[in-house]
């Protein structure tokens, strides 16, 4: 009995038959991840700059941003952005708005993970010795130049290992976008399931696929980021 079920679960022929459909689903995970990660980095950097700003209200806004998104579950945020945000925007603009599920997914995952990036950016920024900035000011660099030429390059180096961890979590989080009908791998597994009624090999195949992809992705990104760090700053 047990071994029958095990054999069935590990018999991945069904999974393999649908490889093309499923692979195209996996591509959606990757697209969503890439778009959401871009959003996260941009907004995370902005929030971090707010948090180290001289003006108290701006600092405060940065803190609210971080606390709001770091403490929010991915799933409720995806659902909120998909079902509530268009209604609110619609009321504001006085017209009917709907989001494509992919757009909702990118906005939600982008904002949620911007909270983590903001904290990482901030820690990196605050770890830079004041002397570096004073030296730059003494050379007559503008604040904007200092940010891009002195501060950020050092911050990026410092935050890279932590950023890789955030990327990995963010990629894993893209699996929930199937729940608002983005046709990703999990969504397509669900569809195939309705035809084939074979949950054992399909879910096992999905778990193994994600495990391998995430494992390789994490390993590769870690290795690349190490190389990059060493090349630039050795």
């Amino acid at each position: 009995m047990v071994s029958d079920a095990l054999a069935e679960a590990l018999d991945l022929t069904t999974f393999w038959e649908y490889r093309e459909v499923l692979l195209r689903g996996l591509a959606f995970n990757v697209y969503t991840f890439l778009a959401a990660a871009t959003v996260s980095i941009a907004i995370g950097l902005a929030a971090a700059l707010l948090r180290v700003n001289r003006l108290r209200p701006l600092r405060w806004a940065g803190t609210v941003h971080v606390e709001l998104f770091r403490n929010a579950p991915d799933y409720i945020m995806v659902v909120w952005v998909h079902f509530v945000l268009p209604l609110l925007l619609g009321k504001l603009l006085g017209s009917r708005i709907e989001f494509d599920p992919f757009v909702s997914a990118v906005i939600a995952l982008g904002f949620v993970y911007s909270g983590y990036f903001a904290e990482t950016f901030r820690t990196g920024i605050q770890a830079i010795p004041l002397g570096h900035l004073e030296a730059a000011r003494a050379c007559g660099m503008s604040e904007r130049q200092i940010l891009w030429r002195i501060t950020l390059p050092q911050v990026v180096r410092r935050m890279l290992p932590e950023a890789v961890n955030i990327f990995v979590s963010q990629f894993k989080a893209t699996t929930i976008i199937s729940l608002i009908a983005v046709p990703d791998l999990m969504y397509r597994v669900g569809m195939v399931l309705q035809q084939e009624m074979k949950p054992l090999p399909l879910y096992t195949g999905a778990a193994l696929t994600y495990f391998i992809v995430v494992y390789l992705f994490a390993g590769t990104v870690r290795a690349l980021s190490e190389r990059w760090r060493n090349r630039i700053y050795a």
């Binding site: 403490n71 929010a72 579950p73 991915d74 799933y75 509530v84 699996t175 729940l179 949950p199 994600y210």
Partner: protein, 223 residues
Amino acid sequence: MSNWERLVWNQREVLLKGFLVTVEICLIAFAIAVVGGMLLCLVRLYVKPLKPLAVLLIEFFRATPIFVQLMWVAYVWPEIFGWPGTFFAAGCVALGVQSSGYLAETFRAGIEAIPRGHREAGYSVGMSPPQVFRRIVLPQTLLASAPSIVNQFTVIVKSSTLVSVITVQDLMFQALKLVTVWYEPIEILTVTAGIYIGFVFLVSLAGKTLADRLRLRYGLAAA
């Protein structure tokens, strides 16, 4: 105003019921995670022949997305292992098992960070290896990992929203059900999001306070 009253205030009992289920699941999953994480860590460190298995499990639990793992445990495990029998149990197990992978690594770092001298001091007053582990290594590891353990609890709470997908009637499930009944998502989903964010915020605040206390009192570095 009436929308808030009708959709949220009048539904408070349903939402509270859901919230309690959420808390229950999270606590059970948390217990599984701590105990399982410690077991995996001990096997990895001290049971040579089983080490590759422990490493594989830890890596698998860590690298598989929680949603995928949840479906896998809920639909595949019962066929293979004849267990878990309910979706509620499946939810607890999936959440617990995922976090146990992370905690195993936290505990390992904690154990490896304890200076060898602390153990030797124990041996030199005649304590046996089990005594040294129980009285010196274990408490220090748990203390040093306490902030990470609390943090892992917040991860469990966030992930627990997904058990609604396998029809466990947690807060998320009740909220989504209300939305499908009334078809007025704004108030319900906003309040639900607020509850989750507030809950996780309070737990992490407690974790931070705890970490500061521990650092002051025991001079431990945060793990």
